[in-house]
């Protein structure tokens, strides 16, 4: 996996110190030894997870903040943008749904959900996370485990699932689905709280890499966890109605969820919460200096994003009917990057930007997948470069710059306004009297 190699590279270089050639060689050697012995002691299947653990240790104890670091991270991100894997599942689904608009647009709603949840941290709070997919996958797996665990032993189910077909009754399916979706969102939110305790010690590029590390670690751990089917995944209970009803059902769920999320965020951004996370984005140190409970706000923001991602993961897992760690639950190089891209394209830090970004992005993606099959990732890569280099403010951001008045942004002071009793300070609270 390209991501894990990028992470290895990052660990070695960060641990050694930038521009320190002998250090890098020593760290690289040390890392190889660590990996071999680590794999030997803990079992080869945990080797990948160990690398990520090492990454987190390095991040926690060594944080040199300089320009060269930023370049390193850019290279790191750029190399993970090359989509080394992750295309086969997309292609498979593509072939199945060429003219299937219900699924097509259901995926669009999922994209809207992705973009909106990413924007809470990435746009409004200024914390660029590359690990949001973690919560999506966790929601998916938590839901799957609950749906099955309510009626069968999960370990037996996953090992038997490859040979026998297990049927769920109508009521079993819907009870399981309800509790599964609930569990998906709650487990995800709780883990969001836990992750928040750890990652918010990191800032800037370290935050991005640290969160990516968590997502990659989760994918690796679940790939080696037999109880949940390891790398071969879990087949979820089959929807009791026909495939068409199933499509409509999940289409509606995703649509409703993205609509609810949009309304929820519109309200949220109008409260103190919105102001506070914007303040953290603009100058976190100042916010701390003013006594703002910055940690509390940051953790809550992550929990909210995790909750909705868990919810959408649980729904999407049931929509595809099959859950697997690397390409469906934790696709770090596809969905995970799409989130960032959609928000950048639409305009980060705005309410509608992510929605517009998701629609435009989904359109472009589907067109390239249909008409330039085989070249789609090159087209996507080009899109990334264009957005990141030339169009960072995004569609809505650009419109805001061009027509600020339409968005209620004032650029010049209004004339001849009377301040409210300009000198009337006697009534000030906190006054001397």
């Amino acid at each position: 996996m390209g991501t894990t190699y990028s992470i290895r590279l990052f660990v070695v270089v960060t641990a050694a110190g930038f521009g320190n050639l002998p250090g890098v060689i020593a760290a690289g050697f040390g890392m190889g030894v660590f990996e071999q012995f680590g794999g030997f002691i803990f079992g080869a299947q945990y080797q990948q997870a160990l690398i990520v653990l090492l990454l987190l240790i390095v991040l926690a104890f060594r944080q040199p903040g300089n320009l060269r670091l930023r370049q390193a991270v850019q290279q790191n991100v750029a190399s993970s943008d090359r989509w080394p894997t992750g295309c086969c599942c997309r292609r498979r689904r593509r072939a199945r749904t060429v003219s299937d608009y219900t699924t097509q647009i259901a995926v669009l709603w999922l994209m809207v959900l992705f973009a909106l949840t990413w924007d809470i941290l990435g746009g409004q709070m200024g914390y660029n996370s590359l690990g949001n997919i973690f919560f999506f996958g966790i929601g998916m797996y938590a839901s799957a485990v609950v749906q099955i665990g309510l009626y069968y032993d999960v370990g037996m189910y996953t090992s038997a699932g490859r040979t026998t077909h297990i049927v769920f009754s109508h009521s079993q399916y819907f009870t399981g689905l309800t509790f599964g979706i609930l569990a998906g969102s709650v487990v995800s939110a709780v883990l969001g709280l836990g992750v928040g305790f750890f990652v918010f010690g990191l800032r800037g590029p370290y935050f991005a890499i640290g969160t990516l590390g968590i997502a990659v670690a989760a994918a690796e751990l679940i790939s080696s966890w037999e109880w949940v089917g390891a790398a071969s995944g879990i087949s979820l209970p089959v929807f009791p109605g026909g495939p068409d009803t199933q499509k409509l059902f999940f289409y509606f769920l995703l649509f409703a969820l993205s609509f609810v999320l949009l309304l929820f965020l519109r309200w949220l951004y109008s409260t103190n919460f919105g102001l506070a996370i914007n303040a953290i984005r603009d100058d976190e140190e100042k916010a701390e200096g003013m006594g703002l409970h910055t940690r509390r706000y940051k953790r809550f923001a992550l929990v909210i994003a995790a909750f909705f991602l868990g919810l959408s993961g649980a729904i999407f897992g049931n929509m595809t009917g099959f859950v697997e760690p690397r390409e469906i639950a934790f696709p770090t190089t596809t969905f995970n990057i799409f989130m960032v891209l959609m928000v950048l394209l639409g305009g980060k830090g705005t309410l509608w930007g992510p929605v517009i970004g998701a629609v435009v992005f989904h359109f472009i993606k589907e067109v390239t997948w249909t008409y330039f099959l085989g070249w789609q990732y090159i087209a996507l890569g080009l899109l990334i470069v264009i957005i990141v280099v030339y169009f960072q403010q995004g569609i809505v951001g650009w419109l805001m710059e061009k027509y600020p008045e339409r968005f209620g942004i004032q650029v010049a002071p209004k004339e001849a306004e009377q301040p409210p009793r300009a000198a009337g300070l006697a009534a000030q609270p906190g006054g001397a009297e």
């Binding site: 949220l268 109008s270 409260t271 103190n272 919460f273 102001l275 506070a276 914007n278 303040a279 984005r281 603009d282 100058d283 140190e285 100042k286 916010a287 701390e288 200096g289 003013m290 006594g291 703002l292 409970h293 910055t294 509390r296 706000y297 809550f300 830090g349 942004i409 004032q410 650029v411 010049a412 002071p413 209004k414 306004e417 301040p419 409210p420 009793r421 300009a422 009337g424 300070l425 006697a426 009534a427 000030q428 609270p429 906190g430 006054g431 001397a432």
Partner: protein
């Protein structure tokens, strides 16, 4: 003179081999205006940072209203009512002035559910009053980042007032501000002191400003306390003249 509200005793702080503060002691009386002067690199800003908790001190004690604060974190100290402004102005650049003010409300009593409060009536009114007080009322819906440097300083001052601090520590409030605006600022600082009852503790290089405002002045040099006293005494103190003021 009233009782001391900030008491700094024997505070030392060094960065690697550089000793920024060595055994500094001072006290800021409640309700007054206290000045801190000294040549560049004499450790004034380090002392400020130590008091508000930006970095741990090596030894000594710092008390605020009798409570030891040298081990508290920045946010906790700010919530006690001890606030500082920055030498290089810091405002929330992408938000407009009113939003900057709204998020600067005192957070000392903020509970979990206040995170999601959107009741703004009184708070918004107060924000507008204070913006009018510093003369930014007409620009209140402009992005803070688009204001000039001097206006940003005024905004930062208004934000600090919005926080209803007991003590406000200002790091060079008049640096980079034009002479006419300086007069207005002095006037407003004095009014913040008399009308709002806020104790001020000010680092300043502009001697006219600080001599005019402060009741008591401390002078640091090479990280050590050189002299302390009333403005007149300080101006005549030979050590201060040698180290800092020079001969006029």
């Amino acid at each position: 003179m009233n009782a001391a509200i900030i008491e700094v005793e024997n505070v030392s702080k060094s960065f690697g081999g550089v000793v920024a503060n060595r055994g500094v002691s001072l006290s800021v009386p409640r309700g007054g205006i206290t000045g801190l002067i000294g040549p560049n690199g004499s450790g004034k800003t380090t002392l400020f940072n130590s008091i508000v908790g930006y970095h741990p001190i090596d030894s000594g004690s710092i008390r605020f209203e009798g409570q030891e604060i040298s081990r508290l974190r920045v946010q906790e100290i700010a919530r006690l009512g001890l606030l500082r402004t920055f030498q290089t102005t810091r405002i929330y650049g992408k938000m407009n002035c009113v939003q900057n003010m709204l998020i600067s409300i005192p957070h000392r009593k903020a509970g979990l559910f206040d995170m999601f409060a959107s009741e703004r009536g009184e708070v918004a009114e107060r924000a507008e009053h204070l913006l009018a007080f510093v003369g930014l009322y007409e620009k209140r819906f402009l992005r803070a980042g688009s204001l000039s440097f001097g206006q940003q300083k005024l905004l930062e001052f208004a934000m600090a007032l919005m926080n209803e601090p007991t003590v406000l520590m200002l790091d060079e409030p008049t640096a980079g501000i034009n002479p006419t605006l300086i007069n207005g600022l002095i006037d407003r600082l004095k009014r913040a002191n008399t009308e709002f009852g806020i104790t001020l503790f000010i680092i300043e290089h502009n001697m006219r400003v600080i001599m005019n405002m402060a009741d008591r002045i401390y002078c640091l040099a090479h990280g050590e306390m050189l002299a302390a006293g009333e403005p007149g005494e300080i101006q005549r103190d030979q050590r201060v003249i040698d180290a800092y003021l020079g001969v006029h």
